[in-house]
């Protein structure tokens, strides 16, 4: 039983990371119906920026805030310059552009910071915390807390601010939103900025556990996609739930399903993705989208 609880705890900690990145994916999907394949690499790049700032001697939280600001600006610029021309292009072209971005960020990180594995500090300390009979790292707690905090802030932003309302409106019905004077194009750019920012948080939370290198996010991204699809890619809350679910499912299947073990964990993500797409493409909490033909 203790082992089981311990595993669930580890799963929840991983799940928090998947949930954050899934949230970033939902952000972009919600406004443009695009799956951003470059989200993971963008987060990885942000994490490297944070690493550079911390190594330059800045305190952790100062570096944290600067990284968020830089990531946000970066996301906005990418949307304006690279993604915008493909807004109405066929899906195929958009996917190719996202893959191009993925590859560029990956190689740029390798070019600038080399492919050596780096340690990334945690603000919560590495000491173990005891809860009843089970132990876990303080960082795990912190990571879950940060994820939930981000979710809360986002919810408040979309629920209570005029800007949030404008963003929701332009995602819901771009034409009408434009008619009432919302600058829809800029709302999309803001969405990209926010997604990049959330991704940066996810990157900085996962880096102390997985260590920092250019392929940091490739596995995480697939789990996050699985999470977002499972919870429903059109539902932010659902995707966070999906994140925790996928995190726990990954760890438990690794421990208790004999033939999966540690080696085939990635298969779990593949099965979830294909399974959800086949059985219930809108996910658990997503809206079923109907289109006229």
């Amino acid at each position: 039983m203790e082992i089981f609880l311990q595993q669930v705890m580890t799963g929840l900690a991983n799940g928090g990371i998947y949930a954050s990145l899934a949230l970033a994916l939902v952000m972009i999907y919600h406004s443009t119906n695009h799956l951003n394949f470059a989200q993971g690499e963008m987060a990885m790049f942000s994490t490297y920026i944070a690493w550079t700032l911390i190594n330059a001697g800045l305190p952790y939280w100062v570096a944290f805030v600067i990284t968020l600001a830089v990531s946000f600006a970066g996301g906005v610029v990418i949307e304006r310059v690279v993604v915008r021309p493909f807004e109405d292009a066929p899906v195929l072209n958009a996917v190719i552009v996202f893959i191009g971005l993925l590859v560029i960020f990956n190689s740029l990180a390798g070019w600038i910071w080399t492919y050596d594995i780096k340690q990334f500090p945690t603000p919560f300390g590495d000491h173990p915390v005891q809860l009843g009979n089970i132990f876990f790292r303080a960082h795990d707690f912190g990571a879950i807390g940060v994820t939930l905090f981000v979710l809360l802030v986002l919810w408040a932003f979309f629920r209570f601010t005029p800007l949030g309302l404008a963003m929701r409106a332009s995602a819901e019905n771009p034409v009408s939103a434009r008619l009432v004077g919302i600058r829809v194009g800029w709302m999309l750019a803001l969405g990209w900025g926010l997604a990049a920012l959330i991704g940066a948080v996810a990157g900085m939370m996962v880096a102390p556990v997985l260590f920092l290198d250019p392929s940091l996010m490739s596995g995480v991204l697939i789990y996050s996609f699985a999470a977002a699809l499972f919870g429903g890619i059109s539902s932010p809350g659902g995707s966070v739930f999906g994140g925790f679910f996928v995190g726990v499912a990954e760890v438990l299947s690794g421990t208790y399903v004999p033939f999966i073990g540690n080696d085939l964990k990635l298969i779990v993500a593949l099965i979830i993705i294909i399974g959800v797409l086949l059985v219930r493409p809108s996910g658990l909490f997503g809206k079923v989208s109907v289109s006229r033909v």
């Binding site: 899906v91 893959i99 590859v103 990956n106 070019w111 996609f225 294909i274």
Partner: protein, 357 residues
């Protein structure tokens, strides 16, 4: 448009003459290119020959990918997985069971064709971006699957499998590198002819109709589900044979050669070469074979940075890839080339010809 007019008739005839001449030119160009390709291995060094051989196997894989993406509109970011399955089929058959490498090409084709067809069935329900995601997950899951302990006895686990270099059969006066060069070239040519015939027939029209408007295609009585999964199968078959060939050429397979980056490399080749074309596969193959060598001199990361820039750049300025660009140049030339004598007399009609062709 106004075919009833008498002058338009002559314009149409002119256009037909131009097309005929252009076709003759094209046949000559292809024949010349083939002769050059057959002479090349005897004047190049062994390493160059090896590189060209690899480029041919890439071209075969890209041909499969182009059939799927370019002509059928289904997305795959996971063709590296089929390449890997083909390569491992060949390696295991040669290494474990001592089967002649020629048969492994056939076997790899069958195995991958079936695998692709089976993957194509669930893919029917998954569209656009989601299909890209599902195939990306497939590509990511491939290396761990190949390393998996249960079949380590066959696949050699992380270590992979080494096989021997085959010699030229029937006492042909070729060294092994040259033989593999001609073998790959031959397989590629067969594949090009097959793809060409496939696309210019009923099947090809059905594939393209599904790409352009799936609902209209279905309404016209095309069995969309069958054609889509069949295309997936044929595409995987081509790519699988390419994988098997590459395994014989390189004489080595290991799980980490078939990471997700192989799939992305194939995508780059397809996009740069030109998605909806047969010749694009060949341009693309030479691009992904030779550009990294050039770029490696700058930095280890440079090839990928260049790949990324090309992916986005081509989508911006040349969505048809090199093949699309060549076609454009070709059709411009075609208008310039023949009938120069009569141009003065019929200048008024050339404009209309252009809008018609």
């Amino acid at each position: 448009m106004d075919t009833a007019n008498a002058p338009t008739g002559t314009v149409a005839a002119e256009a037909a003459i131009r097309r005929d001449r252009a076709r003759t030119w094209r046949i000559w160009a292809v024949a010349a290119l083939l002769v050059v390709t057959c002479v090349l291995p005897f004047v190049m060094g062994d390493y160059r020959v090896f590189q060209f051989t690899l480029a041919f196997t890439y071209a075969l894989a890209l041909l499969g990918l182009n059939l799927l993406i370019g002509f059928n509109g289904q997305f795959s970011l996971g063709h590296g997985a089929f390449y890997a399955i083909g390569a491992y089929t060949a390696a295991v058959m040669i290494h474990q069971w001592g089967i002649h490498y020629g048969w492994t090409l056939v076997a790899a084709g069958i195995v991958c064709g079936v695998a692709g067809f089976l993957f194509g069935i669930p893919a029917l329900r998954i569209q656009g971006m989601y299909l890209a995601l599902a195939t990306l997950a497939l590509a990511l899951a491939m290396p761990p699957l190949l390393k998996y302990k249960a079949w380590e006895a066959y696949t050699g686990g992380v270590q992979g499998i080494f096989i021997n270099k085959p010699h030229a059969p029937f006492g042909l006066p070729l060294n092994p590198d040259e033989w593999l060069y001609f073998l790959s070239l031959g397989v590629l040519l067969i594949a090009v002819v097959v793809a060409h015939n496939l696309l210019n027939g009923r099947t090809g029209r059905a594939m393209m109709a599904i790409r352009d408007n799936p609902i209209a295609a279905e309404a016209m009585g095309i069995n969309t589900a069958l054609y889509k999964s069949l295309t997936f199968g044929v595409s995987a078959l081509f790519t699988g044979v390419a994988g098997a060939l590459s395994c014989i050429v390189v004489q080595f397979v290991a799980p980490d050669s078939y990471s997700v980056f192989l799939s992305i490399t194939l995508l780059v080749g397809s996009v740069v070469g030109g998605l909806a074309s047969i010749s694009g596969a060949i341009y693309g193959a030479f691009f992904i074979q030779f550009i990294p060598n050039v770029a490696d001199a700058i930095s280890k990361a440079a090839p990928w940075a260049i790949y990324g820039l090309f992916l986005i750049g081509f989508m911006f300025v040349m969505p048809g890839g090199i093949a699309g660009f060549m076609n454009m140049v070709w059709s411009r030339l075609q208008r310039q080339l023949p009938l120069a004598r009569r141009r003065g007399a019929e200048a008024g009609h050339t404009g209309r010809t252009n809008s018609k062709t």
